[in-house]
């Protein structure tokens, strides 16, 4: 059920709206604790974050994505519009495909990252962490495009984990087995359209489901009924954060400051500084930030993104990073003990060239034991690639598990 109507003149009186899945979430939210995600109520942890997490890694975790900012971009100039907006080449994302990307300001600093869903020829959905409508409309001047926000018009669930495929198949979605990673398809769901993309924020086999809010509860019920025997559980935002750190994915506002929210010079990051070189395509004649990024590529970046494997098991939250000589060369932006990789892992911003795989660094970890603070210098090594990347995430058709 649609719970947020921006056209209602009194909508601002309600500060936080329940998600279209609220009734089902409330029933399973054992902690009765809610958090706020932009305009919506969200669940931090249904049981406890570790429990939620293991559902996602070992069976199937369901996360309510509805509050994520969603935009629709269409019209004759949708493709040229996106080519100017995004740093990567968008024409490669054919209808029925999804692409991850970043967009920059004129200085080549990352405004946000997100996914572009090419729903049908010339009809795109752009999902982002931050609200982007202002920037997207500013970009629309001079293009024959229609851009609007549809956050409140689309209910969405992430269905992630090894049994996710089998559950969706058992729900009765013919052809779901043919969906390749970053593919999307449209299905009939009780007379309405259900769009499913093989995407996610967990680095594992998983899907995202997009549907009209009026069918949200029905979708949840059918999904959970189909997954009862395959360990389906709801998953809160804390567990999702663990899953994404293991996958090595960055988060706006945590691993980098979105350029539009940054006041201090030098506190923003370019795609190169976030390890996203592969998303920058200089063979395009123009995109926002191209000139600045060309210069940065020629002259070198100040910072780099690094994934760290740290000794021992104390998470290096907010730790400073030092080189072998003890010079401060960066800081940790996300950290955790990874239950799946069985490693003490972290995402970090380091000064170049300390991001080379194999580079030996140190981190200064503060941790508490019965209210008493302890400090420890721990060895850290720069590693290449995600900490957790099971082969099953790629297999098509996916396994049953």
């Amino acid at each position: 059920m649609k719970t947020f109507d921006i056209s209602d003149r009194d909508h601002y009186r309600t500060k936080v709206f329940p998600s279209p899945f609220h009734s089902r979430q409330a029933a399973l939210n054992e902690n009765k604790v809610w958090s706020r995600w932009y305009d919506y109520q969200s669940v931090p942890a249904y049981t406890c974050e570790t429990h939620d997490y293991f559902a996602g890694r070992n069976a199937c975790g369901v996360f309510d994505l509805t509050p994520m900012t969603k935009h629709r971009i269409g019209g004759p100039d949708a493709l040229p519009y996106l080519e100017r907006l995004m740093t990567r080449r968008m024409e490669k994302i054919r209808p029925g495909r999804v692409g991850y990307g970043v967009w920059c300001d004129d200085h080549g600093q990352v405004i946000d990252d997100g996914t572009v869903f090419h729903l049908r020829e010339g009809d795109y959905r752009l999902c982002s962490q931050e609200h982007q409508l202002d920037w997207l409309l500013m970009n629309a001047e001079g293009f024959d495009v229609e851009v609007f926000e549809e956050t409140h018009d689309v209910a969405a669930l992430a269905v992630q984990g090894p049994t996710s495929f089998a559950i969706l198949r058992d729900m009765g979605l013919p052809g779901i087995e043919k969906l390749t990673p970053f593919g999307l398809a449209h299905f009939d769901f009780e007379g309405t359209e259900l769009t499913i993309s093989r995407t996610g924020y967990t680095g594992d086999l998983g899907y995202e489901l997009w549907i009209d809010p009026d069918h949200a509860e029905r979708l949840w019920d059918r999904l959970f009924a189909a997954g009862e025997q395959r360990g389906i559980k709801p998953l809160g935002s804390k567990a999702l954060d663990m899953l994404r750190i293991e996958a090595g994915f960055i988060l706006a506002g945590v691993d980098f400051m979105p350029a539009m929210h940054t006041v201090r010079p030098g506190h923003t990051r370019s795609p190169f500084e976030l390890g996203l070189d592969w998303l920058v395509d200089f063979t395009k004649p123009l995109f926002n930030g191209r000139r600045a990024l060309l210069r940065e590529k020629a002259e070198g970046s100040r910072y780099a993104f690094a994934r760290l494997d740290i000794e021992d098991n104390k998470p290096a939250h907010n730790a400073y990073v030092f080189d072998k000589k003890g010079n401060t060369i960066g800081w940790v932006t996300s950290a955790m003990w990874s239950p799946s990789a069985k490693k003490n892992i972290a995402l970090a911003t380091v000064e170049t060239p300390h991001d080379q795989p194999g580079e030996d660094l140190q981190v200064e970890i503060y941790y508490q034991r019965e209210l008493q603070w302890n400090r420890k210098m721990a060895k850290a090594k720069v590693v290449e690639g995600p900490f957790w990347a099971p082969e099953r995430r790629r297999a098509t058709p996916p396994g049953e598990w």
């Binding site: 100039d77 040229p80 100017r84 907006l85 300001d105 004129d106 200085h107 080549g108 920037w135 500013m138 970009n139 001047e141 001079g142 293009f143 010079p265 004649p285 123009l286 995109f287 926002n288 930030g289 191209r290 000139r291 600045a292 060309l294 210069r295």
Partner: protein, 529 residues
């Protein structure tokens, strides 16, 4: 022919385009100028507005033409002569108690003794401050946020020039440069008539009233101790001489050749496509068109980064001045003025509050029934503009907003009527002398001269749109974000006003960049966000 020769296209044969073309042609480049209209000159033009009556249809006075440019182009040899020079300003009064000022000299029956002394002090300071701005006109503005030595030196020179005013004058300059002319005049003068006329000087051509900030800045930009000049044959004579000089230097000036698009090849400007469909390639394209027309109409926003395009869209460029042309069957008799005084620059701005009230209406998309006027009767100095015994009267009418509520269709005659009612108080009987009249609203000026918003200066000349901020950061040094595309019009530093400096500065930058082989602005600096 030299090995440095490059193909350069200039879009628009306004005075800045012509100066730019001539300067580059003299440097040995192969320059072609494409002008949309049937004659060169842009807003410095003379035309017949009624049978037998000719008038400077855009600008009607010269006060800022750079003598160095006139000399470099040898404009005198190419036919530029003056019908009148050293014209002062006469503030009209209905009761004939007019006053005249030029530089520090105040005279006339309306002049007060106290103001005479104050005027000398005022002139000494204004002249120093104006000279400071004048000296910057022939400099390429420094970029903000670079460590480039040249840019830092230029900034240093600016600071030093202000410091060299000495302690008292420097403090006064820094105090008043950003504030309003209303307060400054009230500090110094008694006579409302004098303050009214100077208020008009501070607001002429701008969307601001005497109580708005930037009005002192506007006054300084217009301040002239030498007085105003009228070229023989009207302002079109300046353009004609410039076009002649450009051609003599080797530039090809083609009129009636509207450019439809700037052609982009990958990430650089590669030439232009004409309305006829013909495409012409060039190493460099220089636009004399205003920034909005250049970037939005000719180039297209999709060839720009979004932040830069956003800044261009937000340039304040709506004109607020209408031009009134009257064909007169005889010389109007202004109360108390003899013929010599009638030939000066006449203003109707009886007091600063009158000017402020005239502006108030413009804020709400209206014009005042009591407009402020800047008037010339050039036919007194030049018998080629009208038949013997007949005269033309030119007036800038403030304010006449570009976005007039209800539009300009049908509104022009109401503004003409307001002007005639006003003029009748100062020159009784003038209404009977009017044979023809023509009122050009900013909308008409936009149509005639292709200036977006019909603004004299292509972009409001205010502190936040001047120097390294003009027209916008990232294009303030004539080069633009698009490789090979440059600006050379009034929208660039130092602005409009028939100076020619924007065109000449742009030519220097283009020649320098071509020699260095880098024809584009580097990426935006942190301070140009």
């Amino acid at each position: 022919m030299t090995d440095r020769q490059r193909r350069i296209i200039v879009i628009g044969a306004g005075h800045n385009g012509l100066v730019c073309a001539a300067t580059l042609a003299r440097a040995g480049h192969q320059v072609t100028v494409f002008e949309a209209r049937h004659r060169s000159g842009g807003a410095a033009t003379t035309r017949e507005f009624a049978p037998g009556f000719r008038v400077s249809a855009g600008a009607h006075l010269l006060h800022a033409l750079d003598p160095a440019i006139a000399k470099e182009m040898n404009l005198a040899k190419h036919g530029l002569a003056y019908a009148a020079t050293g014209l002062g300003t006469v503030a009209l009064a209905p009761d004939g108690q007019w006053l005249r000022y030029r530089g520090g000299k105040l005279e006339g029956p309306g002049a007060l003794d106290a103001d005479r002394e104050a005027m000398k002090i005022f002139d000494r300071q204004m002249d120093r401050f104006a000279a400071l701005l004048r000296n910057l006109r022939s400099e390429v503005p420094p970029r903000l946020g670079t460590r480039d030595r040249g840019a830092l030196l230029a900034l240093g020179r600016l600071g030093w020039a202000i410091r060299r005013l000495g302690r008292d004058d420097m403090r006064e300059f820094l105090r008043i440069a950003g504030i309003n002319v209303y307060d400054v005049l009230n500090e110094r003068f008694d006579n409302p008539l004098l303050k009214g006329a100077l208020s008009l000087d501070g607001t002429l051509g701008a969307h601001l009233g005497p109580r708005s900030n930037n009005s002192v800045f506007n006054l300084l930009n217009r301040y002239t101790r030498e007085g105003y000049a009228i070229p023989a044959g009207g302002l079109g004579a300046v353009s004609a001489a410039m076009a002649d000089a450009a051609r003599a230097a080797g530039a090809d000036v083609r009129t009636h050749c509207p450019v439809r698009r700037i052609v982009v090849d990958f990430d650089r400007a590669a030439g232009v496509r004409l309305e006829t469909g013909e495409e012409l390639a060039a190493d460099v394209v220089i636009s004399n068109a205003d920034p909005k027309t250049t970037f939005i109409e000719l180039l297209g926003q999709r060839h720009l980064e979004a932040g830069f395009a956003h800044r261009v869209r937000n340039i304040r460029s709506n004109g607020g001045v209408a031009k009134l042309h009257l064909a007169l069957d005889g010389l109007p008799a202004f109360n108390g003025l003899d013929e010599a005084m009638t030939g000066q620059r006449l203003v109707i701005a009886p007091d600063p509050d009158y000017v402020e009230r005239a502006f108030n209406h413009a804020k709400y998309g209206e014009f005042s029934k009591h407009p402020a006027l800047e008037i010339t009767i050039p036919s007194l100095h030049d018998n080629r503009l009208a038949a013997p015994g007949q005269h033309v009267l030119c007036a800038n009418v403030q304010w006449a907003p570009y976005h007039l509520k209800g539009g300009w269709n049908g509104a022009r005659r109401h503004l003409v009527e307001a002007c005639l009612v006003m003029l009748e108080q100062y020159a009784p009987g003038i209404r009977e002398q009017v044979l023809h009249h023509e009122l050009r609203s900013p909308w008409d000026l936009e149509q005639e001269f292709g200036m977006s918003g019909g603004h004299w200066h292509h972009a409001e000349l205010a502190l936040d749109q001047s120097m390294m901020l003009r027209p916008v950061p990232g294009a303030a040094q004539y080069a633009t974000p698009v490789n090979g595309l440059y600006l050379c019009g009034a929208g660039s530093h130092p602005g409009g006003g028939i100076m020619g400096n924007a065109g000449r500065n742009a030519a220097w930058v283009v020649d320098r960049d071509l020699a260095a082989g880098t024809t584009g602005t580097p990426e935006p600096t942190e301070d140009e966000a």
